[in-house]
């Protein structure tokens, strides 16, 4: 049996064991369902929203209730009617009476003729001052300026403003969508990488702890064991990602219309690419480091170096979102440990050259190869030593050449 077939056999076992866990399967399905529901929500709400048809113009508008201190001249009333349609005037003695009526919400606003319009106090935060009071103040002001020419007032008030047209300057909507996608991408990548790194290390520790590893090592070269485990969990991870995000993304693409930024397909491709490369990068570290310990409690401590790199990469990713094409961003996007985040972000919101993407992929692949050799050696030197934590140096020396 060839190396490939053995590695596949080991990977297959990992996949089977994962899929056997009901918690894993069900939680994945439930989350996928929730995400799909969230993705479908805007479209569904839109569906109900368009059903409600507003009448073109209000039939028989209610007269606007207005309090007038003292009384109102006939041309003034005519001007108000030009602006607001029918009005219902209440004559009162003073401003206090207007305040009382405003408080009871019996009137829309009050008028001190030739002087001012009175409305209820509004908070600066929520400006609820009535549109009607504005129109009334405007109409009475115009009336005075036009020497009581009510007709003219009506003409001016009825004049249509020019239409305002938004010119296509840099596609602001699209930018926003891509910005959002970059944010989600970085968070998502970080989440899965952390999750799968800990799945790897727990798998390694389980084999050490249950001592089955001595049987495995007797049958199969240690490197194959490591490769099979990483491949198997990687396939589970990829499958989980597809199940979790495939349906919601598909729903968004179909229903989202203008909300979906252009080039989303390429973005998803980039996300998948950097998931695979990022996973390989961190999984080999987790496997190598995991072989040094025997107890689950020690897992997080021994993973610290890998986790630190992962967290730094994560924050660098957010930094790059703000300024995707500066020199700093261009550098961190090709540096192996930050590349999965930073290049992903640049591909989303920046403008990386093809050779920059190529360099990022190439350097990351080289690092993966180097780390694999390193991790395989630690794995070999550490995997059979159950008990106390093995020092890196000892594991290195214990491995056969």
């Amino acid at each position: 049996m060839s190396a490939t077939r053995t590695v596949l056999l080991i990977a297959e076992r990992e996949v089977r064991q994962r899929l056997r866990s009901r918690l894993f399967v069900w939680s994945t399905l439930v989350i996928a369902l929730l995400l799909s529901a969230a993705a479908a929500a805007p479209a569904v709400i839109g569906l109900f929203g368009t059903d409600v048809e507003l009448p073109d113009e209000p039939v028989d508008p209610e007269p606007v209730a207005i309090a007038v201190v003292g009384g109102l001249a006939a041309d003034e009333q005519a001007a108000l009617e030009q602006a607001l349609g029918p009005v219902e005037l209440t004559v009162v003695d003073d401003v206090d009476a207007v305040a009382g009526l405003l408080e009871q919400e019996a009137i829309s606003f009050g008028i001190v003729p030739g002087e001012r319009v009175l409305t209820a106090a509004t908070s600066g935060f929520l400006n609820l001052r009535s549109f009607e009071a504005d129109r009334a103040a405007e109409a009475l002001g115009l009336l005075a300026a036009l020497d009581g020419d009510v007709e003219q007032v009506g003409t001016v008030l009825g004049a249509l403003p020019l239409t305002i047209e938004e010119l296509d300057a840099g596609d602001v909507e699209d930018e926003a969508g891509r910005f959002l996608a970059a944010n989600i991408g970085v968070v998502f990548l970080f989440g899965v990488l952390i999750l799968y790194a800990s799945m790897i290390i727990n798998g390694v520790i389980e084999e050490k702890g249950s001592r089955v590893v001595e049987l495995l090592v007797e049958a199969v070269p240690v490197r194959w064991l490591m490769a099979g485990k990483i491949l198997g969990l990687g396939l589970v991870g990829l499958g989980q990602v597809l199940v979790l995000f495939g349906p919601p993304v598909a729903i968004l693409l179909v229903t989202g219309g203008e909300f979906v930024p252009t080039g989303t397909g390429g973005l998803l491709g980039a996300l998948l690419l950097w998931f695979v490369l990022g996973y390989a990068l961190y999984a080999v570290m987790a496997a190598g480091l995991g072989a040094l310990v025997s107890r689950p409690e020690e897992a997080q401590a021994v993973l610290t170096p890998a986790n630190t790199l992962m967290i730094v990469g994560y924050f660098v990713g957010f930094f790059v979102i703000q300024a995707p094409d500066t020199t700093f961003s261009r550098i961190v996007a090709v540096v192996p440990f930050s590349a999965p985040y930073a290049m992903l972000v640049r591909q989303a919101v920046g403008d990386p050259a093809w050779w920059e993407i190529g360099a990022a992929i190439g350097l990351t692949l080289l690092t993966i190869v180097g780390l694999t050799m390193l991790a395989a050696r630690l794995y070999e030197g550490g995997i059979l030593r159950v008990g106390a934590r093995v020092r890196v140096r000892d594991a290195w020396r214990a491995a056969r050449d």
Partner: protein
């Protein structure tokens, strides 16, 4: 079949193996004995390639231990270990396939061994739910399931009840009769004496006794116990290779070197008076063991 040539292995300052030479032939069932810390486990780990020796060579069928050889080897580690949550049958199939068996053969073989070892009703239970003894049976099945031509078992009998001991003994004997080279370590010398034609004793990292149990016994001192109704004058003329070791009441205890003729001693004794009792005793394996180990220490 399995040959260890001058194996050396140190752990820090501890010398675990100090030049171990050992050959186990096809069809041989060899007991591997030695006091605690003598190096049995280390030697067996080197034999199956789990541990690398600092110096020396391991060959199987005349070739260095390669992947092909490992696939024809069955191993039971001293520290038992299986996937706790994997089911018995599934686990055996997996281990068989890791040893390059086809899926169909692995399934059939796993079922056969499950049947043979009395695990049929636990076939689809997770290993962790089995009793320790039953887990041990699965462990044996794991060593056998891929039909190996070499079996290396580290203390396979420890922790077994008498019935399981019989099953294990039967299986090992049957495998050896089928031409498999079997070597297993044990501290149960009586059991080894019953089961094995050959033994190897290791002490302080060296093989200090090796060979056919019968031949080893014949090559060492025997004990002759005599009760005579007469005086001791005849003892003055004991044949060469015979010495008086002591007496308990009327009973004389004589030690006979391998070449000494017990018949001549008995004849001489009969001249002294009527014989009331005669007992010629071969050494037990445990005595050979003690002698070899203590000699090795000296």
């Amino acid at each position: 079949m399995l040959e260890l040539h001058g194996l050396h292995r140190r752990f820090g300052d501890v010398v675990a193996l100090d030049g171990v030479d050992l050959t186990v032939e096809a069809g041989e069932l060899c007991g591997f004995l030695g006091p605690n810390g003598a190096g049995k486990t280390t030697a067996m780990r080197c034999a199956v390639g789990v541990t690398e020796a600092d110096a020396g060579r391991v060959t199987i069928g005349g070739r260095a231990v390669d992947l092909e050889a490992r696939r024809r080897t069955g191993y039971m580690p001293e520290e038992r270990g299986l996937y706790p949550r994997m089911r018995v049958h599934e686990q055996l199939v997996y281990l068989a396939r890791l040893h390059a068996m086809s899926a169909a053969d692995a399934t059939a073989s796993a079922d056969a061994w499950i049947q043979r070892l009395g695990l049929a009703d636990r076939r689809d239970d997770p290993v962790e739910e089995l009793s320790l003894g039953n887990q041990q049976r699965v462990q044996l099945a794991a060593a056998l399931v891929h039909d190996p031509t070499l079996l290396v078992l580290d203390e396979p009998f420890s922790g077994l009840d008498p019935i399981a001991v019989d099953v294990m003994s039967d299986v090992l004997r049957e495998r050896a009769d089928a031409g498999v080279a079997v070597v297993f370590s044990s501290h149960q010398l009586d059991l080894v004496e019953d089961l094995c034609r050959t033994v190897a004793v290791i002490a302080a990292g060296r093989v200090v006794l090796r060979g056919d149990v019968r031949a080893l016994k014949r090559a060492s001192d025997r004990r002759l116990r005599l009760e005579i109704d007469g005086d001791d004058a005849w003892l003055a003329t004991l044949p060469p290779g015979v010495t008086l070791a002591g007496r308990r009441g009327e009973e004389l205890q004589l030690v006979l070197a391998p070449e000494a003729d017990a018949g001549a001693v008995i004849d001489a004794a009969r001249g002294a008076g009527p014989l009331l009792g005669v007992r010629l005793e071969e050494p037990k394996l445990s005595e050979l063991f003690r002698e070899a180990v203590n000699g090795g220490d000296a």
